[in-house]
Structures are given as C-alpha cells and as structure tokens.
C-alpha cells in the first residue's frame, strides 16, 4: 500500500497490446492528490489506452493498475471517479435533467442535479432532450455527468474537442473551480494551450511510452528553445561546445542549433565566421516543439537517456 498513501491512481509497468500493435509499452504513471495531470500526445500515442486501463475498461497484459489502491474493475473503486469520454452517444430522448439524475444515482453521495448543472453551465438546458442540443452543449452535459457524482478524481478525455472558444474558457474555469476544491483530474488533450492553462504536471506520450514528464514550467523551458540555421565553415563539434548551444546537429548543408539565448549565439556565430550565410532564426512554437518532442527519433533518444 506504499503507493496508495500518495497516489490516487497509478500505472506501473503497464503493457497493453491490441493484436500486433503495442498500444502501451510499459508505462509508469502516478496521479497525486489534488493535482491536475495532463496527458499530451498525438493520436495513437496511447493516451486513451492508459485512461481505459485506469477506468477498468481493459485489462493490462502486464504491469499493475491501481485506482484508490484497488483494481479499477471493482465498482467500489469507480465510485470515487467521474468520467467524460471522447465519444459516448447518450440517449437522445432523455432530458438533460434526467441524464444527470440517472448518473448521480450510481454514486454514494452525489451533488444535486441543480448544483451539477450550475457547475457545468447547463442549468438552462435541464428540460431539453439531449438529442436536440448542439455539439458544444452536449459536451457540457457530459461534463455535468462527470462531476455530478461528487467524485474525488475526474477523468476527462479530450473534453473541449468540438467546443468554441467561449465554451472552452467556461469549461476551463469550471475545471479550475473543481481543482480548487481538492478534486484531482486526469486530462487528455492534444491542445497544448489546454495543458498550459490547467495542468500542474504534464506527461507527454508517444508510441505507447511516456517521453517527457514534469511541470508545465519544465515543459515550457524545454520548448522555449529557438532554432538557428546557418551555413558555416565552423566545425560542428566546436559550435556544439559553446555554452549558448543546447543542441547542435547537421541539417543538410547547414548547422541547426537549438538555444535559449539566440542573440548571444548569433553574435558569436557572426564574430567567428564573417562568411557565414543562409542564416535563419525560428522560434520553436508550442505546437512545433511538441511535434519535435514526439518525433520518432527524438522519442528513441529520450528513451535511451532515461
């Protein structure tokens, strides 16, 4: 029970294959009390499989899966969680209020229908049949269903897909309210700004593995790097040793350098090589850095380093 003391949910060395496809390749993941953990990664990275294991929807081929210190297939464990899945089609003819009442009935001490609807911003939709709602409204109702059981741990799988900007902001603020109340949240997303806006900890997945894990600040630092390309007679090894250079490699004819101090680096480059040409400086945007982070060879390198 050593982990049960600190982790609400955890995966340890979890492996899951679907036929020949290894969806999860031995990942470790811990969720602590009161934190919001964002699982980030491209489609097929294994996010949904990781969530499915924690929800008890599938069994791991190997490794350990714990929810509140129990097997998640036990209903007692799942009474502490709320769930919002990516594509669950709810009964179209039931009214929003009826759906909330039904879902709340599964839990030992749920929120009232009114409170759940208020929190999720669907108080004005209670009498409407679910099938008559817009896509964004349906997502909000699904969020209401996730929180109506008064759970201590919420799983939100791509919660803001299909929402407009305003709806997304509202959902984010509701999520912040819940976290402030001490609810822990596992959020999967492929929007970086969503992870940035909400998460205490970000876990980047690719190819069934965790390729980077840390605070948002740490992730941001990683991706605050800028890239400098140039054609130069300076040898790669020499440039790579400069203190400003975080990473150096050959990109065709040119050097490609990563740095946090781009001005200093460019100044030094020009000072050492007056003939330097084809200079190009580019900021690694969040999306770009993220793509970089989950590129196959980078993933391999990170795994070697780990």
């Amino acid at each position: 029970m050593a982990s049960g003391e600190t982790a609400l949910a955890c995966l340890r060395g979890a492996v899951k294959s679907y036929g020949a496809l290894r969806a999860l390749d031995g990942i470790d993941l811990e969720l602590h009390r009161g934190e919001l953990l964002a699982l980030l990664g491209p489609n097929g990275a294994g996010k949904t499989t990781a969530i499915s294991l924690l929800l008890g929807l599938v069994r791991a081929d190997a490794g350990e899966v714990r929810l509140f210190g129990m097997d998640p297939q036990r209903i007692e464990a799942r009474r502490g969680i709320g769930v919002m899945l990516q594509d669950a089609q709810l009964p179209a003819t039931l009214r929003v209020g009826e759906l909330i009442r039904l879902t709340a009935s599964y839990y030992p001490s749920p929120r009232s229908v009114a409170e759940s609807a208020e929190l999720a911003g669907v108080a004005d939709l209670l009498q409407r049949p679910y099938g008559k709602l817009s896509g964004g409204q349906q997502r909000r109702v699904q969020f209401a269903l996730a929180l109506c059981g008064n759970p201590r741990l919420l799983f939100l799988d791509e919660p803001t897909v299909g929402m407009d900007i305003e709806a997304r902001q509202k959902l984010w603020s509701a999520i912040r309210t819940l976290v402030a109340d001490g609810v822990s949240i596992v959020l999967t997303t492929h929007y970086l700004e969503e992870a940035e806006a909400l998460a205490d900890r970000v876990c980047v997945m690719a190819g069934g593995k965790v390729v980077s894990e840390g605070s948002v600040q740490a992730l941001r630092a990683r991706i605050a790097l800028k890239r400098v390309w140039c054609a130069t007679r300076l040898p790669l090894a020499e440039v790579a040793a400069w203190p400003e250079v975080a990473d150096a490699r050959l990109d065709g004819e040119r050097l490609c350098l990563s740095t946090e101090h781009v001005e200093a680096l460019v100044r030094r480059l020009l000072a050492h090589d007056a003939q330097l040409s084809a200079l190009e400086v580019r900021a690694a945007g969040l999306a770009e850095a993220f793509t970089e982070l989950t590129r196959d060879d980078v993933v391999a390198a990170l795994q070697e380093a780990a």
């Binding site: 049960g4 609400l8 929800l55 008890g56 929807l57 509140f68 210190g69 129990m70 209903i75 007692e76 464990a77 799942r78 009474r79 502490g80 969680i81 769930v83 899945l85 990516q86 594509d87 669950a88 089609q89 709810l90 009964p91 003819t93 039931l94 009826e98 759906l99 009442r101 039904l102 879902t103 009935s105 599964y106 839990y107 030992p108 001490s109 049949p129 059981g149 201590r152 799983f155």
Partner: protein, 258 residues
C-alpha cells in the same frame, strides 16, 4: 478500516444501490417510450399480421381462432425481446454508451435489468393489444382465466428472447444488428409454426421445430388459451435451457469485450 474507507471513497448504502437500479430501469423505459421509431414497428408488426391473417382472412372455427391469437401473441412478444436487447445492445456497443456505463460505477446488472424491464413492458403492451383485438374484434371465445394466463405467458415468455437478443447484440455491432435480428426473428417464427400451423409445413420442418425456443413458447401459449397440449413442464424446461444456453456465452463475451 477497509481499503475503501482508507481511500476516502464513501461506501454505498444499500438503499442507494437499489435506487440506482430503479433509475436505470426508469430511464431505459422512458427513453424508448419517447422513441416512436422504435415503438411503432414493434407494436405494429404483430397486430397488423394478426388482423390480416387471424381476423380478416380467417374463417375457421373457435379452435382455429384461439390457435391464431395464441401464435401471433408469441410472434408479438418475441419482437421486444429480440429487438429490445439485440438492436439496442448492438448500437450501444458501437456508439460508446456501453463503454461509458462500464467506466461509471453503474451496478453491473442494472443495465441488463433495465432492458429486461423494458422488454417485459413492451410484451405486456403487445399482449394487451392482441388480446383486445381477439376479444372485442374477432370475438375469440376465451375465459377470464385463459386471458390472464396468456397475458402472463407473454410477459414472462419474452425472457428467453431477451437472452437470445443479448447474444445477437454481443455478436453484431451497430448497423448490422437490426438485419441480423430479423434474420433470426422471421425464419424462427415461420419454422416454429407461428404463421402457418406446423401441420401445413413440410414434415421435416415440423419435425425439427422443437429446436426453436419459439416452438416451446407457442406450446405454452396454446395451453394457456385452452388448447390441448402435451405437458407444460417439458416446454418450460426447454425454455429455461435455451435461456441459459444464450446467456452464458453472451455474459462471457460481454465481460471480455464490453
């Protein structure tokens, strides 16, 4: 302190578990009662058939009238079981609703009991419609006890077909399910003598009729209507056996695949 309490997830009082079953059943019933696309065909199928073949085209004696009412009643109650389970489970396995329910702390049997209650309610409506037509339009001579026995046979007779529907629903997903259910429903109804008496079918078909569960329900329904029969117990046993034979593989598939 057990693990549940230590981890701070409150225990679920029994009354709340019961309430969860109740809510699930209520939702399942309400959602289909509001869906005419699901309700109307199921009710219309057997009543229209009965009116055409059992009333308009039938000029037989009292015996034939009772036979036809009973056999169309069986045809009628097979539908809610097969469609209510097969089609809705097939659809919900595909559209993610079942996955969500499995992730939620829904009591595992609530889902099936809700659908079962819905199928029994539909069977009751089918029986009420057919019995009313039989009594008030066709003037089938039936005693009150016979009417009550037929009604009860219909309401409980839906259960083996719920089990069969459940099995079909675990095998076929989404759009494929309605076709598959019809492929089971219509031939089975024909082959067990629900449309035409077995005596009018080729001998070999009449001979193998006991392999269909609907044959046994028909025998029970005929007995309830006061027709001669060869012992109720054997047919009850056969239906119980079919139910178990459908449920076991279905339960195994559901547990494994969801």
């Amino acid at each position: 302190m057990n693990a549940t309490a230590a981890n701070g997830v409150p225990a679920m009082p029994r009354s709340r578990v019961f309430n969860a079953y109740l809510q699930e059943t209520r939702s399942e019933v309400v959602r289909y009662l509001r869906n005419p696309g699901f309700m109307v065909p199921m009710l219309a199928f057997s009543t229209v058939f009965y009116v055409m073949f059992g009333i308009v085209l039938n000029h037989g004696n009292a015996e034939a009238q009772r036979y036809l009412l009973a056999s169309y009643a069986v045809f009628g109650v097979m539908g809610p079981g097969l469609f209510g389970f097969g089609v809705s489970l097939g659809a919900e396995r595909e559209n993610g609703l079942l996955t969500l329910k499995r992730a939620l702390p829904m009591p595992p049997l609530a889902y099936l009991l809700g659908k079962m209650a819905m199928a029994m309610l539909m069977a009751a409506i089918v029986m009420a419609l057919l019995l009313s037509l039989g009594l008030f339009v066709a003037h089938v001579p039936l005693s009150v006890a016979q009417v009550a026995a037929m009604f009860a046979t219909g309401v409980f007779g839906v259960l083996p077909f719920c089990a069969l529907g459940l099995l079909v629903g675990t095998l076929v997903k989404g759009q494929g399910a309605p076709g598959m259910v019809n492929l089971v429903y219509l031939p089975m109804a024909f082959l067990s003598g629900l449309w035409l008496p077995l005596a009018m079918l080729p001998k070999v078909l009449g001979g193998i009729a006991p392999v269909w569960p609907s044959y046994h329900l028909n025998a029970l329904m005929q007995a309830a209507a006061g027709m001669r029969h060869g012992g109720v117990a054997m047919h009850l046993l056969a239906l119980a056996g079919f139910t178990a034979a459908f449920l076991l593989p279905a339960a195994r598939r559901l547990r494994r695949h969801g």
